[in-house]
Symmetry: C2
Subunit: 293 residues, 2 copies
């Protein structure tokens, strides 16, 4: 029976029309475990809003090591407990923190971090986007992050895509401590690239930030302090009991390469004219909570 | 006195350091009236949500004339009164309409509009973006709209930038009637360009859509019909009493050209490294309510 079935199967395959290209979702759903890379628990910070809503941030120490270390020290020192979301600017950013004159920075926080606005290209494995970029000579993906780079200058930087997190700062040479952060909630404000330390991204719960009421003052600041949205607390994933610790992974390897090509050339039944290219920030590297088991 | 003053002024100018380049906001604030172009009241539809919140859509008949005519007929026929927002997908779209099997289309609505996914480049005056585009051979602005175009093929299309409005459709050859619309509330989903009829944009009140709770079902659909957000009514601006009629204008002419250059080369005190380029959908053509007087 098995043999017959096998023969029947071969006949079916021979008679079938050419295999339909897989959609981006099918590629993600079918990716083998080997193509999912763990995100280190060391790099995860869990912000908790009222009602138990969680917003999980992944730090990018490979790009902004001093700012990432600062944010870990801020979380450990309780800096975010009782902090406020005080700015929500439509199609731009949500910003949160404390007034540094009201609440002193915890121990171990560098007051004047270096300008971690870009880094050496060397040492990064980059999957090229393969489409032109308006902000840099080249763009692609490294370690699950959207990056722009300049092969001639030998530099690379994280791109201000949706959900990426940057460090609020005043005028240069101030780079910000990490005590005030913003997340992108609109079209990628790539003009900020290489002008601010991008320190990570929101990997879960961005909708709790992007759906907040917009601030009505200039730059989206809330008009009254009573409108501020409280952050109940923030903890490093490594500080949480094992049962509560979030685990995330991102798509890499051949499955990510296939996903990238499929996003550039959509072949779903819906699409009539695949673009043949894509914008760096319209790719959305797949990130997911690690499935149980 | 006048003469002396004039001489003193010349001296001051000669002694001053080179003029600081104007920021994009300064260019918009200082633009002469001649560089603001009226948006025709014929092209404005006012959607009203509960609590009197207004969302104003501008139609683009130069790009999708049959769909634009349909939407005018739908508004006149009361189609949107009692319609629902039933889909809010984070970093993607808000979608609203009626179930066409529950509510018949009003008279004058073409049931099968042509595929107005692109048009002839000819007849459009385009200010080129001057930066590479990942989705088309060229991009720029025409009549205040972000457009992508193909000089060789002689075609042009509206780009799916933030706040642009498209016509929901099923599989081809269905192009949608206009009875279901979506607005972009995230990073530009440009892969939809030339695959859907883009019929306009939200010129005021996008924040009433972008801040709605996200739907938790696949594709951002609300899980229960009770979560749907009602549209109280929609009226063409031309149907409203003169005192309530919205008036909008967009920036054009030399001021828009200067704004575009300033957005590509940010020179505010904040910026350390101007990009020297910009993405089509990160330009945001200035549109404003016509100031009184």
């Amino acid at each position: 029976m098995r043999r017959l079935a096998a023969i029947a199967l071969v006949t079916l395959i021979a008679a079938a029309p050419p295999a339909k290209p897989r959609t981006p979702s099918e590629i993600v759903a079918g990716a083998p475990k080997a193509d999912w890379r763990d995100i280190s628990a060391e790099d995860l910070v869990v912000f908790e809003l009222e009602g138990g809503r969680k917003v999980v941030m992944q730090l990018a120490p490979a790009f902004a090591p001093v700012h990432a270390a600062n944010i870990r020290a801020l979380a450990r020192g309780g800096w975010w407990d009782g902090a406020k979301i005080y700015r929500v600017q439509d199609n731009y950013v949500v910003q949160w923190g404390n007034n540094e004159s009201d609440k002193p920075l915890p121990a171990g926080v560098a007051a004047k971090p270096p300008a971690e606005y870009h880094r050496a290209r060397k040492g990064l494995q980059i999957t090229p986007l393969g489409s032109p970029d308006a902000y840099a000579p080249a763009a692609g993906f490294s370690g699950g992050w959207p990056v722009a780079y300049d092969p001639k200058a030998g530099t690379a930087n994280l791109a201000h895509c949706y959900a990426m997190v940057g460090v609020g700062r005043d005028l240069s040479p101030d780079t910000g401590t990490g005590g005030e952060l913003y997340a992108v909630i609109g079209h990628a404000p790539r003009h900020l690239d290489r002008n601010i330390a991008v320190v990570g991204r929101i990997v879960a719960g961005i909708e709790h930030l992007s759906s907040l009421p917009r601030g009505t003052e200039a730059l989206g600041f809330y008009k009254e302090r009573s409108f501020d949205v409280p952050i109940v607390k923030a903890r490093l994933a490594t500080e949480l009991p094992a049962a509560e610790r979030p685990l995330f992974e991102y798509l890499a390897g051949p499955s990510f390469a296939a996903y990238l090509q499929a996003r550039k050339n959509r072949q779903d039944d819906f699409f009539i004219r695949p673009a043949g290219g894509a914008d760096l920030c319209n790719i959305n590297v797949p990130v997911r909570a690690v499935p149980a088991g």
